[in-house]
Symmetry: D2
Subunit: 377 residues, 4 copies
């Protein structure tokens, strides 16, 4: 099983939903970055459930401990290990899931592939495992922030409700003001109502999460098998529940012409550009490419969207099979689940994007891989 991602800045994820702990070893962070448990806890708190009416009411404290990699308040170049110990590991009886895989979940394929499958709370297939991603992401974000780079995710669609476009520089603040993490407050209200509606029916609903990166330099990514968009596509698709990834204009390009969507170049004028923190003097007047040309960042905001499926855990009776007897069976899933996982995916897609950008900042020499103090200004 492959549980390590990245080339220079890497994250090794471990742990299961109801095991002793979930955590990550984050390797490749240069020495001399100020870092404490607070930096990570802040992001984990954005991920945890039970914080609003539209997330699962389960209570999980998710307190992180750093076991290694920090010396006198700063990273020392060695691997940083963050661990969250699971509380209350055996609160429920999940044995009814043992041989009857839940539709839409990975239970079936895990059982068939590995044989010995920890079905408690979804085991390692649980969304709880994204605690690892958020640990890595918190460190990556701190590293990027130091270089003037921000990564922001927000919900732009739930069911058929789509958010209106909001000025990029305001998204972070506005999206933080409601439990949906949607920057369009009117849409957010409708989304919340829709989600509560499906929650009451015991059903769930899908959505779309957008991630933007501001302040990135020209030159992240490599043109063939190390494309920045390729790496982002993998990282984002690797998040559970994601069924599609778009860069820039995404699938809309199919019905457009070259003359309509080619982003033309211009010499930037600081006053009218998206960003205060300009890394290059050349920009594009439009950004259908989503900030990536030929696999390499062009200095414009990097924009991705992911399609998030409705949580497969619903309370209706569903058809399944018995893996032992190989006969048809019914299943009724118990417990309290997120009726729409989009709001909780926000810190995860931010984390994944930040991890990949940090890796490319190191790979391309924008950040010194050993020692932050040697990074060229």
């Amino acid at each position: 099983m492959t549980n390590t991602a990245g080339k220079i800045f890497t994250i090794t994820s471990f742990g299961a939903s109801h095991g002793k702990a979930i955590g990550a070893v984050v390797d490749g962070c240069p020495a001399n970055l100020e870092l404490s448990e607070k930096d990570i806890q802040k992001e984990l708190d954005r991920r945890k459930p039970g914080t609003s009416s539209i997330t699962s009411p389960r209570k999980e404290k998710d307190e992180v401990q750093i076991l290694s990699g920090i010396f006198e308040g700063k990273t020392d170049g060695t691997p940083i290990t963050g661990v969250v110990f699971n509380e209350d590991q055996r609160s429920k009886d999940y044995s009814y899931l043992k041989n009857t895989p839940r539709p839409g979940h990975g239970d079936f394929t895990w059982s068939e592939k590995y044989g010995n499958y920890d079905y408690n709370g979804g085991g390692r297939g649980s969304g709880r495992v994204t605690i690892s991603h958020v640990i890595g992401g918190a460190i990556a974000k701190k590293l990027l922030n130091q270089q003037g780079i921000k990564v922001i995710s927000h919900v732009v669609q739930v069911g058929n409700i789509k958010a209106k476009t909001v000025n990029m520089n305001l998204i972070e603040e506005k999206a933080s003001q409601n439990p949906i993490h949607c920057a369009d407050h009117n849409a957010a209200e409708d989304m919340e109502n829709l989600i509560l509606d499906y929650k009451n029916k015991g059903d769930s609903i899908g959505g779309v999460v957008e991630t933007i990166t501001l302040g990135d330099p020209v030159g992240l990514g490599e043109p063939i098998f190390g494309k920045l968009d390729g790496d982002l596509a993998k990282g984002l698709m690797d998040i559970g529940s994601v069924k599609g990834v778009e860069i820039g204009m995404g699938f809309d390009v199919a019905s457009h012409t070259g003359s309509e969507i080619n982003d033309e170049f211009y010499i930037k004028n600081k006053e009218n550009s998206y960003e205060k923190i300009e890394k290059n003097d050349i920009g594009t007047t439009t950004n259908t490419s989503g900030g990536i040309l030929g696999g390499i960042s062009d200095g414009m905001p990097i924009v991705t969207k992911i399609a998030v499926k409705p949580t497969p855990s619903i309370s209706m009776v569903q058809n399944t099979v018995d893996l032992e007897t190989r006969k048809a069976r019914k299943i009724e899933i118990k417990g309290r689940h997120d009726p729409c996982i989009c709001p909780r995916i926000v810190p995860v897609s931010e984390s994944v994007t930040a991890i990949i950008l940090a890796d490319h900042m190191l790979r391309s020499g924008f950040i010194n891989s050993s020692n932050l103090e040697k990074t060229p200004k």
Copy 2:
């Protein structure tokens, strides 16, 4: 620059559009697979331009030579090198592209990142580089076919014209019968006319290519950072011009509920299943997940879609900048380009998908990594 992809079955790509040669070193193919230049040539012929009114009229013979890896007509476990020598390398003057990047192309980011940029015919950023992918794909497909696995790409949308759904078992044959590679022949005709229309205007149009895999076993992929869908997303997004990737239902999941889209399990009955070549006795009644659950193949057809942008090379005058003087400029791109690249992406998306599947067949032990004759039946 990263030009090697894969973990066990790997492809190392090299060469540029107008350099001496383009090729690939394909490593990790087990010994004892019958393989000749014909197997690769057949696929390269599907990729080359000049074969119909809707592709670029450029003539390129694209004849492959195998330099290594074959002994007495079979692979011998050593790296297989396939090379296509470029003819007629200096036919045109591309020097006007040197400092004026074409909108929508990678010229700008390459120049800024690497400094020394081969702008002739797009250099290594040219679509011609997918010759490497097709060389690797031809070998991967042969390896998969031997295990009863087929990978088929076809065009399902051009502009606003969408193909009707065609029985999966008929797609390969039907799509091969028109230059669009579209299995719905009525739509194909409309697509062809639309493309010719844009060709005459000097413009270009986007589209969507679908890829399906039939006959794959349960158990390809790993659940966290080695997800099969994550790897496919990366591979497909790494193809030039691709701006979006979907697995199964893709972005449509956003507006659906769990109860609508959860694929329910059933005990398969050979008569009513998609596939003759059944690898498992459990199936799903629908396939919104696109054959992948929790990152692992579930034995149903694997279905992906990619959004292909309109070829950025159009004949209209466009705004650009001069990279040396850092001043605004106009550019008019010369030459004969594909007005819609979708038909020529078909063998490339097949190749990329086949390469990734072959890699996972080896990683998961379905094929012995040293010697095909040791592969369990």
Copy 3:
């Protein structure tokens, strides 16, 4: 910093001598191997100091906790995390080491490279970090034992005292009977006296550790950049204090002729061969190659030797420099150190060898990478 080793069976190491914890994430172990903390503790107990008069008298309990990867007493295919929490992290004042690097240690290079260097007890440069290796090794050994493969290290030289050759099948038992881990009991006694002698002088002494592998199949390793001997050389040289690695006859080949040392082939006769557990019917009458031909195991015992330097921590006054003032200084190292590290390297070299062999058993398909129950018999 690279803290992950291996291709399929990987180990990610973390932690520092006086940090909160030291541990390892062991990934790629197939599901269904019985494993408990006892299996790992047994090996850690062989590594820990304070067990005899010739090792450091420091007391470290080194109790391992498994945080992930085990379900119902067996591995479940997910990453296995083993952690040893450090006790008594701030018992001593190491601040005198901050700017005055100890000769023969990595303090100087670490400080210059990373800037922020944890000098307490050697930080991450301490030999304590091999706890990670032993955690990984314990798991690898259990996996190999199940396939009839044994890995055994023993001390064959300390100072000028060399052990006599002992029958390979008796080494494990005999070496376990003395604190030196030397199978020749007469030599062991002399070695012990020699070590005590240097201990009393505040000095230290080097030695040689041999590792043999019994019961391996023909076919581990790959002939160019994946040579089994190449991988062993790296793994063994990566152990702190190791300054040389030999395979089979090692440096003695320099003064021999081809006719003297070529290992001739013969058809094996179970009665007179090294091993009960024969994996192939062809053997070599001698084994100067150390069980590896052309980078691939030939089924004979794999034999390596490592040169272990005398512990650089000695109690004499030594010349060093002040890293801040860039002036000459003297240093006198305090504390209780191992006068000869060879006995404690025994479980580490076993571990490293076992990890590499397990990785190759998986890479070559001798063990199924997902599920041990699918491994061909």
Copy 4:
């Protein structure tokens, strides 16, 4: 099979002794390094046989062609492919080797592992494959030279004849003055006579090759699994015929004490130091560690030694087995072989060392990975 080595600066090797071609794809070289076929040819000429009485009299022209990666006389950041087409591929009948493996060669293990084995001239197991290494090494050396770093190999032992120590700054020139590549001219003469002696007997003799690196900075390598000595050990052991690797004092450390061999630090005085090109102001008065402390270069010359076994191809009758009938057989190897391979390993060990150093220069940020002009001075 793994035929790609390195992390940032990588080499992918392909081809067989009597196949169409042997070559390498060298990836990760930054743009803007002046490079031509001459730079590579110069090194290949040092490797080829038939240049003196003590190497094989076979004539091989070994002319390299660069197929990709160079634009206007400079690297452009894309993969550099160098190919040598084999002439005269079917000059001899090697079929007698098909089922009777030569003692000391990899024929046996290859045949058993891969089944389909190209036995002509040793196939891909032939020393001819090091053409790949030398192609990569030539590029790496040019990159290193530009940073003031030199890598020099020379023969220090043949049979029992050992060369006297020569001033490090003179080794390159002196070693180039005789066919043995030995800097001690008296020893060289004796070595030559000894080799001719064994040549006449149809036998072969082993030896030792030393490699030194001058001008490297402090800070190459990483302390745990990315140790510079670990990587060198792997690279050097991966060369065919090598049975041992030493760093610095090597196996001699076993019989020494800490007080004897600890390298003490001092503030360097340009006048009395080894090197004109000083990268750090702190040095060590001795260099038993061979320029590497804690896995990281300390700025002193990096010194390695390899044990090279006598060429296993000798003209005497030897015992072997028939792989088909599984019965005992005799074999008599025909052809003209190198009686001592050490002189021809010199450019190979230089190449391997240079490739690894170039990789670490890039990994540690001493050279910008995209564009040489962005490398900090």
